[in-house]
Symmetry: C2
Subunit: 361 residues, 2 copies
């Protein structure tokens, strides 16, 4: 990472685009006591964000230390160029694709100005959008990629890193095109897989859908996102996305052949590679995934019951790594799945049972 000490974020900070991400960054900076200036083409967003305490509207003579461009994907290059032209500030953007906007900007500004631009991308979000959904806690514990180009000023890179740390996120430095390949793999491909599976549900017979369990819900959950936003994201990362989709199509052909030809060994190999992939995703705090075990508990479906379960789990002293509440039609009782450290599962089960919970071992 950048050498210490990093440049201090002292403000003013100018946020262009007072939506979910921009307003959340603005709230972090206001909590630090910094002067925050807001710009937005929507007067209503501006009014709402200011009203939430995210900052003040821009006057005609602003001299920010840092400008954060947080506008929709298609508007990003123009907004970066305009910001570089307005002052001597360091400029970052928070778009989810980095190489194409950088190329567009580089063709339009002088190298001495380009040196002040350092792209970045917080891996954070919400199903909601707009300033009302904003929160200074949005970035807590999240990865945040910083993607400087070859001739970015080290001080500019350091200042963006300071912002990332103040937001409570984990900075990850990487080249813009490497970032785009990364998000194609760990964000865009999963999103498209969810879309394709969900697309097979849209006109499905009711009796098919009635058998739905947790698996299909998990796989398709992310497909409930804004199509217009994702169109912009995918078009801006078309190259890396197409490369990965091509690899998946080849894998799909191999899978179909293995099933059609009853080629058991080939099929097992494909399934086992899927196993290995799930183990590759990092666990908490950056380490390899620690082995966990799922514990299932019957929980009647009304307020207070789940709280009672978690209260007991808390008293028992076993940390819950993840939770899944099963949604299944027909009954007012569901199974809640608690994912805990493998070595603690038996203790939790025995202790819950002694408190009268119906568990599933």
């Amino acid at each position: 990472m950048t050498e210490r000490p990093l440049p201090a974020l002292t403000g003013p900070v100018e946020v262009v685009g007072a939506g979910l991400i921009g307003a959340s960054i603005a709230l972090v900076c206001r909590r630090l006591g910094l002067d925050v200036v807001l710009r937005d083409t929507s007067a209503e967003n501006l009014r709402t964000a200011s009203g939430l305490g995210a900052g003040r509207s821009a006057s005609s003579h602003e001299r920010p230390q840092l400008v954060v461009v947080a506008v929709p994907p298609a508007a990003i290059p123009d907004a970066i160029v305009a910001a570089l032209g307005r002052s001597d500030a360091v400029v970052t953007d928070v778009g989810s694709v980095k190489a194409a906007p950088l190329a567009a900007v580089a063709g339009r500004v002088r190298p001495t100005d380009l040196a002040r631009y350092v792209g970045s991308h917080p891996m954070a979000g919400s199903e909601r959008s707009g300033p009302l959904a904003a929160s200074a806690a949005l970035f807590d514990g999240r990865p945040w990629a910083i993607t400087p180009h070859d001739v970015a000023e080290p001080g500019a890179v350091g200042l963006v890193e300071s912002l990332v740390l103040e937001c409570g996120a984990s900075p990850r430095l990487m080249a813009p095109d490497e970032h785009d390949r990364a998000v194609a793999r760990i964000s865009h491909l999963p999103h498209l897989a969810a879309v394709l599976v969900a697309g097979r549900l849209a006109a499905a017979p009711e009796e098919h859908l009635a058998l739905s369990g947790q698996g299909v819900r998990d796989v398709t959950r992310v497909a409930a996102s804004d199509p217009a936003l994702w169109q912009q994201i995918l078009e801006a990362n078309a190259g890396a996305v197409l490369d990965l989709l091509g690899e998946v199509r080849a894998d799909l052909d191999a899978l179909m052949t293995a099933v059609a030809d009853d080629a058991g060994a080939d099929l097992v190999e494909i399934l086992a590679r899927g196993n290995a992939g799930t183990a590759a995703i990092p666990g908490k705090h950056g380490g390899p995934a620690r082995p966990t075990r799922s514990v299932f508990v019957s929980v009647p479906d009304h307020p207070g019951e789940l709280a009672r379960l978690f209260g007991d789990a808390g008293e028992i002293g076993v940390n819950i790594e993840d939770v899944h509440i099963d949604h299944d039609p027909g009954r007012p009782v569901g199974l809640t799945e608690l994912v805990v450290d493998r070595g603690r599962a038996e203790h939790l089960l025995a202790a819950l049972e002694s408190r009268g919970w119906t568990t599933h071992r």
Copy 2:
């Protein structure tokens, strides 16, 4: 459904295969006070299941009312044929594919014996397997498909329905091949999509994986399953699975074309169909999905904190529909997502904030 009243389940119940599903069904029947007989090729499974109170080992002269075949997929047809030959009992199996086993059995038994066979399939399970993982609560609130063939005795169908209801599950009557098409769509396809996405993570660069968020975890979660078991399932449902994979491959080709040709309208249409699909999955208690909203709260990562959050939510009186605890590397604080009825979200947020929680609107 079957006309009321249903035949009463009075036992004895014979369970062939004392693994997760078989032993769980046995435990339900023991709780009803029924005589339960266990068979398993593994003496250890038998010993464990009996030790858990799931039943007694079979003697040489058993006359069960109902036989439940719960063996691995490849062994199902032989076990059904053997059960039909041993006594006059009604016989069901709980395999996850119905048409192929039925066809195999029909070719080997007399029609009067076939009339006593009614396949079924509980939509339940666990990442664990074996009798130690069994629980009488496994089927609470789950759908359980019942798939009689054309000449099944109505009394046999009714007896299986009684078993399903005693297990706390929701019976769904359907033809065997319709069932297989249904599970291809809502179980096998999602599983394979997860496997293909996870397959792209298995050998991925660490810096790609480091940016992982909740989306890729949700999409790939189900891929962490037993490859040998899934090989058997997929091979037994090859026809319906290949039909769906062919539809998905065509969708994938259309998607790649839309991205490569920058055909925005086509791309938005594909993404929007994914949206529609997620809304098609039923919500709790069989109704259409009720609109929900996600509420995000910062929760420090140690025992007790999550309990405190749920305790407060319980006192506030808002039912939690779903929970996601975000796993992200680097920081000891994570964001917990609570999914609640949309009309209750503001109330929950305000009340949590007044209790000192850091929320993200």
